[in-house]
Amino acid sequence: MAAVLVEGLSKRYGSTVALDDVGFEVAEGEVFALLGPNGAGKTTSVEILEGFLGRDRGRVQVLGLDPGERATLRRLRERMGVVLQELAVEPFLTVREVLARNAGYYPSPRDPDEIVAMVGLAEKAHARVKTLSGGQQRRLDLGLGIVGNPDLLFLDEPTTGFDPSARRDAWELVRDLTDGGVTVILTTHYMDEAEALADRVAVISRGRIVAQGTPDVLGGRDTAEARIRFRLPAGVDRASLPVSVEPGAGEVVDIRTDREVAVLRALTTWSEEEGVPLLGLTVERLTLEDVYLRLTGYQASDDGSVR
């Protein structure tokens, strides 16, 4: 059974369409990432799933319950955890106190001391929340998200402000949770985070889902053209290369092709025969970021500025 099911979900704020016919499904135990620019509808979608916002149209089921149904909302919230950006925690309580307090809201919580250790705040257990650094507060957020022993965890930008090692630790923690069967809905700006954690990804842009799939096939990434780049050898002009390249003035030749083997053979044969080195030769598939930027309509101009 799906942990989360969304069909034909629409939401407006006044005359602004926030979500337009959004649909996706998240299996139990899956990590599902929702990617999209600010204002695309990520937060609105998640808030509807959490039962924080109402919807205009569509069917939504979360853990078998309708989050728009007030009568069962408490039951739903007992089984979900939320890690949200920019939500404060009572500044004058200690880490341990806040975790113990929130644990008491749930029917079968985890041990607060265990959570303190899991999120790496053992040394800060008796420190007041206001004395924590930004990264420590985010780890407390994570702890508050899981202290209720949830079946479904919402993670909103969970590692923003983490240093690289804290990020790895947080990812490890999320993986441990999902190994234990917890379903995760992740929103993030970091493509490496989506790639590291998500089983499936949906890209949302201007209130619509524009692509979904596993991170490695998203947006036709597996079948899309490859990108071959090398530095233009000195004294060679673009027209005399053995493959057709777009005209340009730069020092780096950048070829997009779906016949990368043939192009590479032509290039390397030419290089050998002419005795011209191909410095800095790389072949790469589209990164998740490339796909994401293309799907969300980002265009970079030649000088790198955003148009």
Partner: protein, 268 residues
């Protein structure tokens, strides 16, 4: 997946009451650990009473029938203490909680809204009660004020006031757009109205200030609390008119609160 339970949930009222008690405990911990909150709310009423009582407590005032002024200042600052906890502190802390996301965080937890609201109200009332006890003790032991022999009218005045001002506090909090405005705007309005309402000196009946301040609830809180301390023969300790006006203000606050309450900052 377990079937959805449709029976009346969660073992009834007992568990909810325990949750209220527990939540109230954390509210109290939070409040008393915050030096600014504790000093501004509790410290002010005590310091004001001591300053005014020490300088002029035993002078007699015509506006209150030549009673010693201490007989007016003790209920006056008791009323002030209740209003500052139930209105000023409650409204400011609600705005701050809303704007910093504390309310949203609680909303997304399974803590029932009724439990949260009850704990917030009770927290303000406990802080009020601490002040009432302190101020009555200081007035009686320090300055020889006469406390009412029948506590009934005083208790009713304080409870009606606490509930009305708490409802008003929630209502007013919905008009304050951001956290930075909360302290200044609410406190200035509060202190100006208190100034008009005769907190610092008794207002003569029929004076311009008394007539203006009669439109606002602060004046009625002060006079309703003073009535049980009014030693003049034939004066009723029950200030029904004042209690009624306060209750109307409280009801208006409650309607605003229910209609306008938001759990999170307005979307930009």
């Amino acid at each position: 997946m377990s079937p959805v339970r449709t029976d009346p949930p969660y073992g009834g009222v007992g568990r909810e009451l325990r949750m209220v008690g527990r939540q109230l405990g954390y509210e109290q911990l939070s409040f008393w650990r915050n030096p600014i909150g504790a000093v501004f709310t509790v410290g002010f009423s005590v310091v004001f009473l001591v300053l005014l009582a020490s300088s002029a407590g035993h002078s007699r005032n015509a506006a209150i029938g030549n009673l010693e002024v201490i007989q007016y200042y003790v209920p006056g600052f008791t009323a002030y203490g209740v209003m500052s906890a139930c209105f000023n502190m409650l409204a400011i802390s609600l705005v701050v909680r809303r704007e910093t996301g504390l309310l949203k965080r609680l909303r997304l937890s399974p803590l029932p809204t009724s439990v949260m609201v009850a704990a917030i109200f009770l927290n303000a009332m406990v802080i009020s009660l601490v002040q009432v006890v302190l101020l009555l003790a200081i007035g009686r032991l320090g300055y020889g004020a006469h406390l009412p022999s029948d506590p009934g009218p005083l208790v009713v005045a304080l409870v009606v006031g606490a509930l009305s001002f708490a409802a008003l506090g929630v209502g007013v909090s919905t008009f304050i757009p951001n956290q930075e405005a909360a302290g200044p705007v609410i406190s200035i309005v509060f202190f100006v109205l208190l100034f008009l309402s005769g907190l610092w000196y008794p207002l003569a009946k029929g004076s311009a200030l008394a007539r203006i301040s009669a439109w606002f609830p602060m004046r009625h809180m002060i006079t309703a609390t003073f009535a049980p301390f009014d030693l003049r023969p034939g004066v009723s300790p029950w200030a029904w008119h004042d209690l009624g006006v306060m209750a109307i203000w409280g009801a208006a606050g409650a309607i605003l609160a229910v209609r306008r309450f938001r759990w999170a900052p307005a979307r930009g």
